[in-house]
């Protein structure tokens, strides 16, 4: 490399996020996940307009046909449930609940996991021992059981309790990733250099190291959203999450599963497909982000 040489292989721009976006765009599955989520967000935002019926309204007759447990038809694309509610409208409205829980629980887990993981990784010693012990204790419990226990103790399955409970358990994987990042980054020379210019520890932690850990943390969080949505559905299925008559995917599967055997497959199938779609979309996005944000490995 010469003195005036430039090893910038990315053209004129210097923006790291823009370069990551360029790499992301080349990844087909990632883009698929991205558009699937964009579509889902659109559905959630415009749910009242998109839904053909009121999700709570118990229809009796639609144009002379009995509307309870009606099979999919041009009038009811996904059929109706035993109460005569339009399943498609309920699936559409259910996206709001799932996405809200997914995002809010992720925010909770980031707020807990990032600072704790950062401190464990950076300070090491007894701080690390204590936090790691705590992480391992939570990891030792089955995830779902722990969430169930928290919801059961609080005895109030409202949305705020559900996302807080999920967040309180799922922060551990974020904390682990953050801890590992801080452990390796604290030895970097630029951290030493930051100490050598007299910066206080907290500035070094959050201004110098944290931005360097963001990529894996974002990936972990994105992949986590899918499993959080799955957990929420599971909770609702077990009766500990959203309560009837809320249009929750998990609750719909729970209600509809008893009709699977008798041939009314549509009640449980369509919300199940919605869950699959969402989880898959977030996993595609997360995998794509992992490849796109891995700047240092690519070079």
């Amino acid at each position: 490399m010469t003195e005036n040489g430039n090893n910038n292989d990315s053209g004129v721009t210097g923006n790291l996020w823009y370069e990551a976006w360029l790499r992301f765009r080349r990844n087909r599955l990632a883009m698929l996940g991205f558009f699937m989520i964009a579509a889902l967000l659109g559905v959630a935002v415009f749910a009242p307009r998109l839904a053909p019926y009121d999700p709570f309204k118990q229809l009796l007759w639609t144009e002379g046909i009995k509307a309870k447990l009606a099979a999919p038809s041009p009038d009811h694309w996904m059929g109706t449930d035993a109460y005569g509610r339009d399943i498609m409208s309920r699936v559409i409205h259910g996206s709001r609940l799932s996405l809200q829980i997914g995002l809010l629980a992720t925010v909770v887990s980031l707020l807990i996991g990032v600072p704790l993981g950062a401190m464990a990784g950076y300070f090491g010693g007894w701080v690390d021992d204590l936090i790691s012990w705590f992480i391992n204790v939570i990891f030792a419990f089955p995830f779902m059981l722990f969430v169930l226990a928290i919801v059961a103790v609080l005895n109030n399955p409202s949305m705020i309790v559900v996302f807080t409970a999920i967040g309180l358990v799922s922060w551990v994987s974020i904390a682990r990733v953050t801890r590992a990042q801080f452990m390796s980054l604290r030895e970097r020379e630029y951290v030493e250099a930051a100490k050598a210019i007299g910066l206080p520890t907290w500035t070094i932690l959050f201004k110098h190291i944290l931005p360097n850990t963001l990529a894996p943390v974002i990936v972990q969080a994105t992949l986590g959203i899918g499993s959080i949505i799955l957990t929420e559905a599971g909770l609702a299925f077990l009766g500990f999450g959203a309560q009837p008559p809320a249009p929750s995917w998990g609750l719909m599967i729970s209600d509809g599963q008893q009709y699977l055997a008798t041939g009314q497959w549509w009640w449980a199938l369509f919300p199940g497909m919605a869950i699959m779609y969402t989880v898959l979309a977030f996993n595609f996005l997360g995998d794509g982000l992992r490849d796109a944000l891995d700047v240092r490995l690519k070079r």
Partner: protein, 334 residues
């Protein structure tokens, strides 16, 4: 009064394998506006010495076991961590070996240089920006305002080292510690950086501690030289006399291992053996096993630092050959 005076500094590392005495009783001083070169092989303790001065030892394994470090008459070892923070980067700053990795990859160059000004001088972003542009001009970076918005990976190695120097000097510290600042650069860039450091030094009047294993660089930069071996100072001399007549056998060995261009050399001379493991306890002079002049006393008793010449003249050597000023390199040759 010396700007920096280090007395009998002992920095040890408590490792699983035992106590490592990385710096074992080193004393030196740096005067105002002077450049002190510290030379030695890898692992002789020169970097640990500089980290001890900065208070940046990786605790709890590394610790200062004794001695004191007086900077402008304050003992740095007794300062609290927060007072030490206001010394670092402000009155003493440090340039590291690897310009490639010493800059934060996700922050722009400008943000990083502005940081010491904002932290130590309480400057606003705008004022710091102006000051930084000036500093970048002084380290000869073209289009400074444009460069400040760029990220480290967009700069070449030489440019990054200029940025590091700008970062070190932006608060006009009275002491700059440069730990092998040119080792990772190719020779032409190295020459440019060294010239730049000398120029800046003559403008700002800062003192420099220049740490390197490269005697050629020392000859170009330093006024005084301290040669270190296995955690100890073995020779303290002015640069001229040191190159003209090295006294310690180790220094002689180092000088002989520089290739000569004026004479034909079949083989480059080397110092036999390697630096002893710091865990190993060595009786007598630490260099005796590799020394061609060693005699019985060297193996049993460690020589003190013998002062040379007139009192007040800062020259000393740690070798029995120079007891009473005797300089006999003819006897005892192995």
């Amino acid at each position: 009064m010396s700007l920096l005076r280090v007395n009998d500094l002992k920095t040890y590392f408590d490792t699983d394998a035992g106590l490592v005495k990385a710096v074992d009783g080193v004393s030196f001083s740096v005067e105002q506006g002077e450049t002190l070169g510290i030379v030695g092989e890898s692992g002789c303790g020169k970097s640990v010495l500089s980290l001890s001065v900065m208070g940046l030892l990786s605790e709890p394994s590394g610790f200062v076991a004794g001695g004191d470090i007086l900077f402008e008459d304050t003992d740095l070892l007794r300062l609290s961590e927060s007072s030490m923070c206001s010394v670092r980067g402000n009155r003493i700053s440090m340039i590291f070996q690897e310009p490639m990795t010493s800059l934060n990859p996700v922050m722009t160059v400008g943000e990083q240089i502005m940081e010491p000004l904002i932290v130590h001088r309480g400057m606003t972003q705008r004022a710091a920006f102006g000051e930084t542009v000036e500093m970048l001009k002084r380290v000869r970076i073209a289009e400074p305002a444009q460069r400040m918005r760029e990220y480290p990976h967009q700069l070449s190695g030489g440019m990054r080292q200029r940025v590091m120097i700008a970062m070190g000097l932006v608060c006009s510290p009275s002491l700059l510690i440069a730990d092998e600042p040119t080792t990772a650069l190719d020779v032409t860039v190295q020459a440019q950086i060294l010239r730049l450091m000398n120029e800046l030094k003559s403008v700002t009047g800062s003192s420099i501690i220049f740490i390197t294993h490269d005697l050629g660089v020392i000859a170009q930069m330093a006024e005084r030289v301290m040669v270190m071996y296995a955690g100890r100072a073995v020779e303290n001399r002015d640069v001229g006399p040191l190159f003209k007549e090295p006294l310690h056998p180790y220094t002689r060995g180092l000088l002989r291992s520089i290739p000569l261009f004026c004479e034909k050399q079949d083989r480059l001379s080397t110092i036999p053996g390697v630096v002893p493991s710091p865990l190993k306890k060595i009786d007598g002079c630490k260099f005796h096993s590799r020394c061609g002049y060693a005699f019985d006393r060297c193996r049993s008793e460690e020589p003190p630092l013998f002062r040379l010449g007139a009192p007040g003249k800062n020259a000393s050597v740690r070798c029995w050959l120079h007891e009473n000023g005797k300089r006999d390199f003819t006897e005892g040759r192995r």
